[in-house]
């Protein structure tokens, strides 16, 4: 028998002091229902077989671990490997989670799917699985994000989802999330809310992490096969933090592996216009969890800023807050400018257009390349592809041109 792993979070959904369930009473029953369903399904052979089948044949897993030779050469330092989540169906890691959650929804007999989305990658991944299972689907998306991620909006609509433009507050992911929660409270019995990151009330941060952990598990096997060991460093971008947790979680106990999460520094960490929650925020409560958050002295949430819609969020997953406090994961940040130039650089060097979110992780390596040895093997989670970001590129070129 396999020794029982010490499981984080605890029964109350706490990662150390973080997490929990800060939600209106109406929602509690749905969270308990979901916790119960997940407790059963995660051990259920049939569920796991079905999930694995979808991951292999629908999502396209395992994704390659690719040696980025020309990027490595360009940096003149460490050896860089890309974990190619951009090659999954719908083009980002988000689908690993939506496939899992919709199978839960199906088991629970839910008739309607809702989701929030920033960059549109989670919305697209949700609309995709909802189409596959023939369930009606509503995606909440900030009005500003609808503009800067237009290609994804059209795809979601093509897949049959209703995309609701959220015009309140910052008109980005934060408000899309609030609006999705309002829908959920109102349609609580019939509707399954597919949360797209390791955020929200318990059990979501745990469920999303578990579904995304496939990234790290594969990476570990692939590293063993390629060079018979572990990577020295792993880097991933952090908005809510689902691709980062997914790639890190299986390596948390391998203390020789440096884990680095890269947040969005926007116009700069001192500019006040950023989304660097762990580096510049403090613990608070938003969208159902106690976690690091960017808010003013009066407790009002400050509008974040990032060029990348997927990182433009004032909160972060509670498990990241714990990993930040314990120091197991180092957190850094990259600015809009750094991400944008790396976006172009990697496209030219590798023939891979990385998502603007992912470009933050890559930009960290460009900036800090001299801090690593030539022998260091670094795995970057290439969380998604960047063709969705063409409107941003166009806008930036117009502004500078």
């Amino acid at each position: 028998m396999v020794a029982k792993k010490k499981t984080v979070p605890d029964v109350r959904g706490r990662f150390g002091p973080y997490g929990g369930r800060y939600v209106p009473e109406t929602v509690i029953y749905a969270l308990e229902e979901l916790t119960e369903a997940y407790r059963f399904c995660r051990r259920d052979k049939e569920f796991r077989a079905e999930l694995n089948n979808y991951l292999s044949n629908y999502v396209g897993r395992p994704t390659p671990l690719y040696f980025a030779e020309r990027f490595t050469e360009h940096l003149g330092g460490p050896q860089i490997y890309f974990k190619r989540e951009d090659l999954t169906h719908t083009g980002a890691h988000k689908i690993n989670n939506t496939v899992g959650q919709i199978l839960l929804a199906k088991r629970m007999g839910k008739k309607r799917i809702i989701a929030e989305t920033g960059a549109g990658q989670h919305g697209l991944a949700t609309a995709t699985v909802a189409a596959h299972f023939g369930l009606p689907c509503v995606i909440y998306m900030g009005a500003e994000d609808i503009e800067r991620q237009a290609p994804n909006v059209e795809k979601m609509q093509l897949l049959g989802a209703e995309v609701v433009s959220v015009k309140s507050g910052s008109r980005t992911l934060k408000d899309a999330t609030s609006e999705a929660m309002r829908d959920w409270v109102t349609n609580i019995a019939s509707t399954f809310y597919i949360i797209g990151s390791v955020v929200g009330p318990h059990p979501y941060p745990m469920i999303v992490r578990d579904f995304q952990s496939v990234i790290g598990k594969e990476t570990k096997k692939q590293c063993r096969r390629l060079w018979g060991g572990l990577p020295d460093v792993m880097v991933a971008c952090v908005g809510g933090g689902s691709n980062a947790i997914g790639v890190f979680v299986d390596f948390l106990k391998d203390t020789s592996v440096r884990l680095i999460g890269v947040e969005a520094a926007g116009h700069g960490l001192r500019s006040g216009k950023h989304a660097a929650t762990l580096l510049r925020g403090k613990p608070g409560v938003l969208h159902g969890a106690f976690s690091y958050l960017i808010f003013d002295s009066d407790g009002q949430v400050i509008l974040p800023h990032s060029i990348s819609a997927g990182l433009d969020y004032p909160g972060v997953g509670p498990e990241h807050s714990l990993l930040h406090d314990t120091g197991r994961v180092e957190y850094a940040a990259a600015t809009d400018k750094e991400a944008l130039s790396t976006f172009k650089l990697v496209s030219r060097l590798e023939g891979i257009i990385p998502a603007m979110e992912t470009s933050h992780a890559l930009a960290y390596l460009v900036k800090h390349r001299r801090k690593f040895c030539k022998a260091d093997r670094i795995v970057v989670c290439l969380s998604g592809r960047g063709d969705k970001d063409m409107p941003i590129i166009r806008k930036m070129s117009e502004q500078s041109g």
Partner: protein
Amino acid sequence: MSRIRQTLAGRGKHKLLVPFLTVGYPDFDTSIDLVRTAIDSGADIVELGMPFSDPMADGPQIQYSSQIALANGTDMKKVLQAVEQIRAGSGVPIVLMGYFNPVWARGVEAFAAASHRAGADGFIIPDLPVEEAADFLLCLKDLDLSAIFLVAPTSSPERVQLVDSACTDFVYAVTVAGVTGAARKFSSSTDAYLKGLSRSLSRPFVAGFGVSSPESAVRLCRHADGVVIGSALISAFRQAKNRREGLKSVRCLLSDIRKALP
């Protein structure tokens, strides 16, 4: 005896009218006038909304009022000033209602103490369910402030008991699964749910969410000990031509409900 307990003890067959108004909507002074108008129109308890940037349990009306209030500089200090000013002219119990983060940011203990000094009588924090409220409850208990938690149609019988025992004086029953908002029709399942609560709760309870007219108030009060009315007041004020008309609309709506209730 606390002001809330006095109100509850002395109510007899009288049903409680509990208006909700957002501090700072449409501006600080007018929001105080609105509360005074509500008290003059027969409010038994007043709920003061503490504005928050991300009110996820609220519908469009209260979202709007919070946005306006924040835009005109209403912070937690102003909320306490409002309590002081209202308290100076009235003995009606004042309950502060809002989201947890602003309270947390000011320090739970410090903010509870400051609220008590200003003359507040209790708290409703919709995103702080009983399980997460242990520390907050201790602070409130020390100051003899009332803790009011919510029950919802989705609450299990066990949770109803849990909420009942965690509430200090009375319980807030959410009438339907959803966000705050006016102009809803209540169904027979709402009646059955409230009837069930009147049997299972040991404490008095007020019903809120979607109360917009004397008829809806009377219907809920067949089983509930009172009603909360919020979004409909903000909506009435918004629809009025000017400030004076707005105050009048709010007064008329509350007086009509007051007259219709036992």
